[in-house]
Symmetry: C2
Subunit: 533 residues, 2 copies
């Protein structure tokens, strides 16, 4: 074992850093001598939570402050033609030019959520011309969970590939929980500020107002939250559209704003005072994640007038945010049957002017509680392939309870599959390299390479060892599925060797009477059964 490599998630790899900006990658060794360089979200390792991660962006940001900038948004810089360190960083990470990154941001097609108060971030980009990203939700509720658990879930999430993490806490110690998460997070953190605002007014929805909301935004922005889910598109006239639905309003933020609108019989203050929110967010470069408060909560409610009415409102708000040079992404559903998924993506691109789409699933059926990570990964893979830029994971506990550590991992693996499959479907440059290397290893019975290249090397190894545990079997030219006599890969290799040795071409094979070839094959090919080497 090459001692430059270590065990990580059950497989051999090492963290490497590229260039002056020290852009992190994970390198997988392959027994052929090749290596594979993978995008890596895991961040600096082995740092005590009390210490917090190094502040790699501190000098970049202080330089901007020194020259007197007042709008710190990446969109603002991009539109001025500037290439920030964050753009350079993601350009290396994504293997594109910094100019391309800048232009995608300037066009509003991509965002780099990177609060100037979260200098620990390793910058990442969300946009449909980049790798598809995955978000993991963590957060306590009044019923369950502690700060330590949430920080540990954060670490665990980035270890398994979360590109961003949302802290959805609604319990006690909101500020302290968030602070601990931020100081230990190498990825951007998103929140839904209305939750904390509601705690401030002791749960009385009707007491919410724009001043209280702005107070909470400022508090969270100063801590370093990089994107806010804001349900500014839930409008008064949308609310009755939900009364006929099977599951009404399923977004917590959406239902709070709907109740506020009905109570006061006024338009949503997040909508009417949207400019004030933009003014605040650009001072910290907090990115909008315009919430889909009216997303469908079941198959029956998918793509209805409430949902699309809100989407159109989000498109209007996108233009307002862009006037302030504030970055925007748009949240999407939810529960949608497969045949209605593409319409969601098409409508979003059209009405929201190509701002990045960020969806929760969608789940493609309602009948799979306990397996909604899987139902939703199907929808997520599809919408990713259609252009969705970030996929919010769903865990096995969706609709049932709060996810534990294993649930978080299961949700992430499902969503890494979905995101990667979407990259493949979009023909994203280099995305197929890992598939090809793993498949070559599979064909050549290089088991250790297969494990190391897998999304979850530890599980791949464990499952293999369950049937064939001894070391010899890891070099065997067959596996337990078929046994030695029926190994198609083995026979296939014989066919290939024969074809190569004889420069066999289709046209030749078609010639009749090539008895010589047949006897040659008999001599060279040997038995189907090849003893364990």
């Amino acid at each position: 074992m090459d001692d430059r490599y270590e065990m990580f998630n059950g497989g051999l790899s090492r963290k490497i850093e590229v260039g002056e900006l020290k852009v992190p990658f994970r390198e997988i060794p392959i027994s052929t001598g090749e290596t594979l360089k993978l995008y890596d979200t895991s961040g600096p390792q082995n740092i005590a939570p009390g210490v917090g991660l190094p502040k790699r962006r501190a000098s970049w940001i202080s330089k901007r402050k020194q020259r007197g900038d007042t709008n710190f948004s990446q969109l603002h810089y991009a539109r001025k033609g500037m290439i920030t360190e964050e753009m350079q960083f993601v350009a290396i990470r994504e293997d594109v030019t910094p100019e391309f990154v800048r232009d995608e941001i300037a066009a509003g097609r991509a965002v780099i959520p990177s609060s100037i108060c979260h200098p620990e971030i390793e910058p990442m980009i969300i946009g449909r011309n980049f790798l598809v990203k995955v978000n993991a939700n963590i957060g306590n509720s009044r019923v369950s969970s502690s700060i330590e658990e949430e920080v540990e879930k954060l670490r665990w999430s980035v270890q398994w590939g979360a590109d961003t993490v949302m802290d959805l806490s609604t319990g006690d110690d909101l500020t302290e929980t968030r602070e601990q998460i931020l100081r230990n997070s190498p990825v951007p953190i998103g929140t839904v500020p209305i939750y904390e605002a509601l705690e401030l007014v002791k749960g009385k929805v009707e007491d919410l107002n724009i001043d209280i909301f702005l107070e909470i935004l400022e508090r969270q922005a100063k801590q370093g939250v990089s994107y806010f889910t804001i349900h500014a598109g839930v409008l008064l006239h949308h609310v009755p559209m939900t009364a006929k639905r099977v599951t009404g309003i399923v977004s917590r933020g959406g239902s709070i704003m709907a109740k506020w609108c009905l109570h006061h019989h006024k338009e949503n203050f997040l909508y009417t005072d949207f400019d004030k929110i933009c003014e605040l967010m650009k001072r910290y470069d907090v990115c909008f994640s315009l919430g889909d408060g009216l997303r469908p909560g079941c198959i029956a409610d998918a793509n209805d007038e409430a949902q699309f009415g809100e989407l159109i409102a989000l498109g209007e708000l996108t233009k307002i945010a862009w006037k302030h040079d504030v970055q925007v992404m748009i949240e999407g559903p939810g529960h949608v049957p497969m045949h209605l998924i593409k319409e969601n993506m098409d409508m979003q691109l059209e009405h929201c002017h190509e701002a990045p789409f960020y969806t929760l699933g969608p789940l493609i059926t309602d009948i799979s509680p306990g397996y909604d990570h899987i139902s939703s990964a199907i929808g997520a893979a599809m919408i990713g392939s259609f252009g969705c830029a970030m996929l919010c994971y769903v865990t096995p506990k969706e609709h049932l309870g709060l996810p534990n550590r294993e649930d978080v991992k299961q949700g992430l693996i499902c969503y890494k599959i979905a995101a990667h499959a979407a990259d493949l479907a979009k023909g994203h440059k280099g995305a197929q390299d890992r598939d090809n290397l793993l498949s070559e290893a599979r064909f050549e019975f290089r088991w250790e390479d297969q494990f190391n290249l897998a999304l979850d090397p530890g599980i791949a190894r464990d499952y293999h060892d369950e049937t064939l545990p001894n070391d010899a079997s890891k070099t065997a030219h067959f596996c337990s599925m078929c046994g030695p006599r029926f190994c198609s890969m083995q026979i296939s290799q014989e066919v290939r060797e024969y074809a190569a040795a004889h420069a066999l071409k289709e046209s030749e094979v078609l010639q009749a009477g090539m008895a010589e070839k047949s006897s040659e094959f008999s001599k060279s090919g040997g038995e189907v059964y090849v003893p364990n080497k």
Copy 2:
């Protein structure tokens, strides 16, 4: 608890039988007084393996023998305009007319695999205008597993919804294993007879010939196998097309036939002697499952000339089989990235004249060993929505080892999700009823109804109880995800009640100055927090 119901897979339900033919369904009780009638594959319960299942088709078949029939295929009867008991049975099962069933079979668009030597079958139909079906593979190999284990896997498979089961045994005791499986199976059993043929020639591929193959077919047909995977489309000139592939030939049957072709430098005897095979199969009504011996084994090899070359050959063979009135379905890949899936379905419909398609996955990436049930369920759901009639499950052990009991269950749940999602996407009549009932139960916090309506009631209940174990919480009007204060469903219900009470219309809400409505809401709505009832 209504004592007509019992616990089954962790949820309350009961088996019911409909009509003279005693067509089985599963009935789920709902606390509102409604019931839901579901398609049920579980077969007669609590029968000792040594006894075997009741032979419900025995009288139907003996009647046909008495009148001197020689071609027993459902296609033969359908083309003569006859409606068999099997067709009547599936008509009730699928909630369509017997005439529709007959016409779909006569057109070759659907098959009822129902060997006359397997009278224990509860007939089922495979075709894209019916519910999407799921196959589970079981079977021992030389490395692992026993007969008892395989029979138990069969029972476990139908308990979790397998519509057909393939016995892929390649180890010892092939005949006895198959006999035990058949006598205990309420679902059609498929096999890949070339495996047993190869055992007969002691693994020497070159010694295979049509006579040996027909001998094995006869043996298996007499036992009651209902469909044979036969790799008759692997032609000599296809073989060199696979030499450039990343993973060559990954089908065991395909690689055996390729080796045979190369060795003898002759055309595949399954192709050249296809008529003889048809003659045999119609005497038992064994259905062809024309094997995709050249299916791609990795993303890089998808949709290549070898794969589609074979598909075109399978189309030719379909026409030959139909000349004999033998039923046909066509097997498909494998590993295919999402954007290339639809082409598979389109090509299959075009070249194979709408014979039912039966695919393995496809997996939409190669990087997920240990989670290939999930990767492949994504591809399966998609191809199902495009018209694939039956989905062959993949378990978490794919590529790594032999599935155990839990793996079989995980594979089946994933594929029941995929098949159901495909039914929804196709707008299949009644498919959404279960989703709607479950979602209504979710909206109204009827937890027990949610569990009973779930694909896996036991897991749904366990996950719920992990966070909120006490009985009171099962009637709580919130769940552990949001806690009481943030429950969107609760708020939503308030909105709905308010809307209903006041016959609220969109136009009214839009009128300004309706202060009266706002104060009414304050009076009627109460707090967001509703104490546990």
